[in-house]
């Protein structure tokens, strides 16, 4: 069950402002509202991992997944982001939409495990990580690894479909059960000027990682 209709959720998420000037190095692009609303709605209706839960959002950007989680009934959401400009937009979105239970921290996501206190702090972690195509190969799995250390229930993440076998093997080492919940087509069209063709479709998997028996 979900506390809000899918159509309504998508309508709200269309009101979330994006990055003003996306930064190429950080591989910034907004999670499309249609995709964000569909996947979050499914996290709640299939697995009940949002309503009444403490949800963390790694690399939250301007807040699409944080805001969507809160609208679906999360008890509280905390977003983590390395880019201050993106977080200013995040705060603008949260204030503009008058949402109470959403917080954010300006920090390096990959340094969070070193901080000691965030381990198992959350029930659920959601992340749309950088895919690691800009000289930062493997960063998406570092986000997942960080998420696994911070969640006691489940981690949800987006990855290029081409990395499916690698991810399957990797999470097995951590005693984490992973399954692809949805196969998506991402259309990253006008985010960056160097994308010469008008739009680029990439195949993306939406993963659920069950971390209840993790060894990490």
């Amino acid at each position: 069950m979900a506390s809000i209709k899918l159509k309504k959720l998508e309508e709200y998420l269309h009101g979330v402002d994006s990055f003003e000037k996306p930064k190429i190095k950080l591989e910034q692009y907004i999670t499309p509202p249609h995709i964000a609303s569909c996947v979050l709605y499914n996290i709640q209706t299939l697995y009940g991992d949002i309503e009444g839960k403490y949800v963390g959002d790694l690399g939250c950007g301007s807040g699409m997944l944080s805001i969507g989680s809160f609208l679906l009934g999360a008890g509280m959401t905390t977003g983590f982001e390395i880019d201050g400009d993106a977080l200013n937009t995040f705060q603008y979105n949260v204030t503009e939409m008058e949402l109470p239970g959403i917080d954010c921290v300006l920090c390096d996501v990959l340094a969070l495990p070193k901080c000691g206190k965030w381990g198992n702090a959350f029930d659920t972690i959601v992340t749309n990580p950088p895919f690691g195509t800009k000289n930062n190969c493997g960063i998406d799995m570092l986000f997942v690894q960080t998420g696994i250390s911070m969640a006691s229930g489940a981690v949800y993440s987006f990855h290029k479909s081409s990395t499916r076998d690698y991810i399957r093997k990797k999470v097995k080492d951590w005693h984490v059960k992973g399954n692809v919940v949805a196969e998506l087509k991402y259309n990253i069209d006008t985010s960056y000027s160097f994308h010469k063709s008008k739009s680029v479709d990439i195949n993306v998997d939406f993963w659920r990682f069950d971390v209840t028996e993790k060894d990490i």
């Binding site: 009444g52 509280m76 705060q91 109470p100 917080d103 901080c115 000691g116 206190k117």
Partner: protein, 124 residues
Amino acid sequence: MRLSTYNFLTSKAIKGVKVGFPLKLTIAKKDVVESEFNATFIERLLPRLDWPAIRLAAEIADLADDIPSEQPANIAENEELLKKLHHLLLEIDVLEGQLECPETGRVFPITDGIPNMLLNEDEV
């Protein structure tokens, strides 16, 4: 910054810092953002709270009368206290202020409600 978030923040990522918790909180400007009380959610947070740290936060937020200095037993059955915890942890929003590392004195500013926990390369 909500005080529930404060409950988890440390400066341990700084080179040489052993615990880095609790950070010394200073509030220059705060707001109260009303939100729906959910007893089950507060109960869910309880085992993840560091009681001395949130008691300290309550003192700084002028809510010391709301939060006992020792964590009482059976909080789950004490709805009045759950409501006070809800107010302290989820409704107090620190807009301007700072967090200070208890071991090195390094200051992390809170600006427009966002705590800046970024470290320079030479600090890690």
